[in-house]
Subunit: 179 residues, 2 copies
Amino acid sequence: NVAHGLAWSFYLGYLQLVLPRLEEAISAFCASHQSSASLWSRGSKRLFILIPINANISHKLENEDERVHFYDSLPNSQLDRGGVRGRVYKHSVYRSLEDQAHDCVLEYATPLLTLHSMSQDRSAAFGEPQRREQVLLFYRTLRDILERSLECRNRYTLILLNDEHEGDPHYLSKCILRH
Amino acid sequence: NVAHGLAWSFYLGYLQLVLPRLEEAISAFCASHQSSASLWSRGSKRLFILIPINANISHKLENEDERVHFYDSLPNSQLDRGGVRGRVYKHSVYRSLEDQAHDCVLEYATPLLTLHSMSQDRSAAFGEPQRREQVLLFYRTLRDILERSLECRNRYTLILLNDEHEGDPHYLSKCILRH
Ligand SMILES: Nc1nc(=O)c2ncn([C@@H]3O[C@@H]4COP(=O)(O)O[C@H]5[C@@H](O)[C@H](n6cnc7c(N)ncnc76)O[C@@H]5COP(=O)(O)O[C@@H]3[C@@H]4O)c2[nH]1
């Protein structure tokens, strides 16, 4: 089951490494970005991870919603990983202009890009009908792993997006507001 | 089969992105690192990907072999990926001092870190006996994907390491020499 392994990979190779340092990175960011400091609520100092069921992932979030703008990157983390010296881990801060301004750390769950591409490559033995089911399995597996993780507690929010959002030009900013 | 998905992910989310740009990155590196320029052979301008069957991965290659030293990083690539603006992809150049000096781009296959950690987490439903078999499945799947990829042709070498290397303090430098 591809999704099972990708959820574990996403946790072990990324979330487990970056979430424990996230609060500190956001504080450093607010200290160096005065205009941002007042635009975070306590509940928003986490990584918002978007999981669209149809795995339609954009590389630029502002293309999904004109009220969402890339603001700046959080300070980078550098870690030695598997022979790569100082591998860089970074997150993007977005400003959402839905009624009032909000800053938040937002990104898609990148393993969904793999699920999407695999469903289009004939040799991957994985088609579009299975993809939806695999996205849901990815979401459930990841949710269960993260719920058991003490070091990641309260540092993330998984946002499962169903297809209704596809017609809405402001789904992302509304989503940010809701969470 | 976890290894099947991890091999596809490693190709679609990493090798397919970085290998086509590798030759250019190495040329730029040689131009800015005069002492390095003469230490590459034509066959060595590729990414050497280490795949130890026991999945025992080190984060610092020089800890594996005292004749191998981290020299510098190749120029970084930055790509917008899944909402992360300017995600950084970088590789490390190692100098091997086995008989004469050689420079090369070397790293472990990162998904093996996931296989290793999963085999140690009781909730991942994946134990040490299956791990060896999964590493071999990862290697074969990756090899087959890469052989079909025109854009990655001649830009990589997969190095499958069996357990005999474990006793040898210079296995890595000898390996580099051989390839
Ligand atoms: N050596 C190496 N250098 C890299 O820069 C790199 N980037 C990816 N990979 C490996 O390729 C495969 C596909 O990557 P993807 O991005 O889809 O999944 C990644 C991605 O969803 C997330 N992740 C890891 N690093 C980052 C990062 N810097 N920013 C955002 N997400 C990240 O966590 C997953 C697992 O990462 P790794 O377990 O490090 O190995 C990956 C994976 O096996 C890399 N391998």
